[in-house]
């Protein structure tokens, strides 16, 4: 057990370090601005006095290191300063939106993960049949399509032509859970289509990769039926790659959501990020980037830890 604790500890430490480095990148990249933030906010026509005043207000007269440490200290307590454009605290702008985004991602994940793994195993079992080939073409097509293409097709058919679901996912206070699911169905379905395709292909590859192992041939030569070969002999060894696949795609859900949110005008953090980028509202951009990066790292970490925990060689040391 000591080995596992050590390895998990190592991964956690590494994740923290990477997060720290990323916060440095995110913070100091803004410093690379031609001119500085004050210049960017006020534009070329600003007077020296106005610039100086704004610089003082934003603390730009202090060295970058000091400002970084202050920013980091606040960021740890989820305080990202206030927006340059609207002057409201960043947390206020993105707090609720982040929950919305998480909800959408979770909605998609709950549908996508079981479907993808079951289909992936099925396709691996029926490999090189017509079913497998059709699935290959279908998943490739789905992966290759931009999210907005899938999104608009769904809108065209499910919303405009057949009127089954709303095209715009506006959320309001006090709506029932069923109503919520109905309104967010199309964006969730778009995400599901992309992610299922990815996960299916990777699950299939992971299992087929294992099927070439001598112990699978041994199981076959012991008279084990094909489904049992997959379920009992291949699957327990495929967990590490499958967990990896799932984590990778969950991470993708969190970030791929940006485009889908714009298509469906969904009030999530991705929309906020895109708005902030076009308005050059740097505190909001920084906060969003940090949140996305942190989620991404967390999920990758979870995958690594999961892979360690399911490895029989590590679970039962010599």
């Amino acid at each position: 057990m000591g080995d596992i604790a050590r390895l998990v500890g190592q991964r956690l430490g590494l994740g923290l370090i990477i997060l720290l480095i990323i916060s440095v990148i995110i913070f100091f990249m803004v410093e690379l601005l031609p001119g500085d933030i004050a210049q960017a906010v006020l534009g070329q026509g600003a007077t020296e006095e106005n610039l100086a005043a704004l610089r003082k207000e934003m603390g730009l007269d202090q060295p970058a290191i000091v400002r970084y440490l202050a920013w980091l200290k606040d960021a740890v307590t989820f305080d990202f300063g206030s927006s340059i454009v609207t002057k409201t605290p960043v947390t206020e702008i993105i707090g609720e939106r982040f929950m919305n985004t998480l909800f959408l991602a979770a909605y998609a994940a709950v549908i996508a993960v079981p479907v993808a793994i079951i289909l992936g195993v099925l396709v691996a079992l029926l490999r090189n049949s017509i079913f497998d080939r059709v699935a290959n073409v279908a998943t490739l097509t789905s992966i290759s399509s931009p999210e907005f293409f899938l999104g608009y097709i769904l809108i065209l058919y499910f919303s405009v032509k057949w009127g089954m679901f709303p095209a715009i996912s506006s959320l309001s206070e006090g709506m029932s859970f069923g109503e919520l699911l109905n309104r967010t169905f199309l964006p969730a379905l778009t995400l599901v289509l992309v992610v299922v395709a990815h996960m299916m292909r990777m699950t299939r590859a992971a299992i087929i990769n294992l099927l070439a192992s001598p112990y699978i041939e041994m199981a076959r030569l012991k008279g084990t039926p094909p489904w049992k070969v997959i379920v009992k002999h291949a699957l327990p060894n495929a967990w590490a790659p499958i967990i990896n696949v799932v984590a990778l795609n969950l991470a993708y859900l969190i970030t791929g959501v940006v485009l889908v949110e714009v298509v469906f005008v969904y009030p999530g953090i991705g929309q906020a990020l895109v708005d902030a980028v076009s308005k050059r509202d740097f505190p909001v951009v920084q906060a969003c980037c940090l949140i996305f990066a942190a989620t991404f790292i967390l999920l990758n970490l979870a995958a690594d830890v999961g892979a360690i925990l399911t490895n029989p060689r590590l679970r039962h040391p010599k």
Binding site: I18, I21, I22, I25, I26, M29, V30, L32, L33, P34, R127, N128, I130, N136, V137, L140, T141, I143, S144, S145, P146, E147, F148, F149, Y152, I153, I155, L156, V160, K161, A167, I208, L211, A251, I254, T255, G256, V258, L259, V262, V263, L273, V274, A276, V277, S278, R280, F282, V285, C288, C289, F292, A293, F296, I297, N300
Partner: protein
């Protein structure tokens, strides 16, 4: 109407029976399952649905035929062994490569109107060089999907290179009212400013694909170069590069691109740099892995012990043994980059108007979708079609290079 229904079923059943009689299992299964599907849909949706199914099936059949013919065409070309007349004749080989390049440069500088033709000639020469019996053997293994992919890429390349000659109108030329429907001069109608949609799609092939291609090449040069060096040198350089790649890769790509665009403003150069930085680590990892498999070979050890330098090792020993996976990886990365750039354009942060660009065109015309008009889907479909095509080809190449022969 009923004549169509009767004719349709008769055709399907005749094909099924013939296939069954001549023991063509796959054709029989396809034709007969299509018959069954048509039965069900015909009962549920009436002749309209049946017609839709018939059109879909017909289109698929047509695509299949085009792909098949295109593959046979390529195989015929390859079998003529035309590439050998280049490779066995170095002066001809270098001449045929250098002359078009000189022409391209000259025509750019002196504004001769022959850039397109020189570029096309260069690409043609490069393809012809690869045409030998080895290629023919490989091509024979290409499934229909890969042949279809190659055909689509070919079409896009023609459209992109010869855009000014193909497009009936200028890229930013306003010729009618906003959202005018299709007519004789406008194949696909007009966009939100009254510009010809078809012409803009054709120009988009040049702009969108060109940008993505340049960015991918930049990412590839950076990533593959670092990967090969890291694999050959090993030690601290390898470690350092690996760690840098780890850090960059733990920022989601779209988010990183948005961050950089927000700071440096949306311009073509910024997009290319951003994409190069974001995708170079991915290319690095793969190249490192591919070259890593080669580096452990005894012949590399032998060359190292002989005292060969890094340059020789990479050029003569490692690169020739990793080209196949690297080409496939290039296709794969191109798809990712293309989708990312299209996404940025869609968000209004990519190529700036009035340059025609597929991602922006989707966004500009998006409102039409709520009226049931498919115009905004056309540029989106153009993006999807190219990525699908490249992915089909890559899928086949990866399958070939992995040597995976599952039963």
């Amino acid at each position: 109407m009923s004549l169509f229904v009767i004719g349709y079923y008769t055709l399907l059943l005749v094909v099924s029976c013939l296939a069954a009689y001549f023991n063509k299992k796959t054709i029989f299964l396809l034709a007969f399952s299509l018959t069954l599907v048509s039965f069900v849909l015909g009962i549920v949706g009436g002749p309209g649905a049946l017609r839709a199914v018939a059109i879909c099936a017909g289109l698929l059949l047509l695509t299949g035929m085009v792909s098949y013919a295109f593959r046979e065409f390529l195989i015929q070309m390859a079998e003529s062994n035309i590439g050998l007349s280049f490779t066995n004749n170095p002066p001809v080989l270098y001449g045929c490569i250098i002359i078009p390049i000189v022409l391209i440069v000259l025509s750019r500088l002196l504004e001769w109107p022959i850039t397109e033709f020189a570029l096309a000639a260069l690409i043609l020469v490069i393809i012809l060089i690869g045409m030998n019996s080895e290629t023919a053997k490989e091509l024979r293994t290409a499934p229909m999907t890969a042949a279809f992919g190659m055909f689509v890429i070919f079409t896009y390349a023609i459209a992109g290179i010869f855009a000014p000659y193909i497009a009936p109108h200028g890229e930013a030329e306003v010729i009618s009212s906003a959202f005018a429907p299709a007519d004789e001069s406008m194949l696909l109608g007009a966009d939100q400013l009254g510009r010809d949609m078809f012409s803009r799609i054709v120009y988009g092939a040049r702009n969108s694909v060109g940008l993505a291609l340049t960015a991918t090449v930049a990412a590839f040069v950076l990533g593959a170069g670092a990967g090969l060096l890291a694999a050959t040198k090993g030690g601290w350089f390898d470690q350092l590069m690996g760690r840098i790649a780890d850090v960059i890769m733990s920022i989601p790509s779209l988010i990183f691109a948005l961050l950089m665009l927000s700071i440096f403003g949306p311009s073509t150069l910024v997009i290319i740099c951003a994409v190069a930085i974001i995708y170079a680590p991915r290319v690095f990892r793969l190249t490192r892995a591919v070259a890593g498999n080669v580096v452990v070979m005894d012949y590399i050890e032998a060359a190292k012990l002989r005292g060969e330098g890094t340059g020789y090792l990479i050029r003569r020993e490692i690169l020739p043994n990793s080209t196949a996976p690297l080409i496939a990886e290039f296709g794969l990365e191109f798809c990712f980059v293309f989708l990312l750039v299209a996404g940025l354009s869609f968000l209004g942060l990519g190529i700036q108007p009035p340059t025609a660009d597929w991602g922006s065109m989707v966004r500009e015309n998006a409102t039409l979708i709520s009226f049931g008009d498919i115009t905004p889907l056309i540029p989106a479909a153009s993006i999807a079609l190219l990525t699908v095509a490249v992915n089909f080809v890559v899928d086949w190449m990866l399958f070939r290079s992995s040597g995976l022969k599952e039963q």
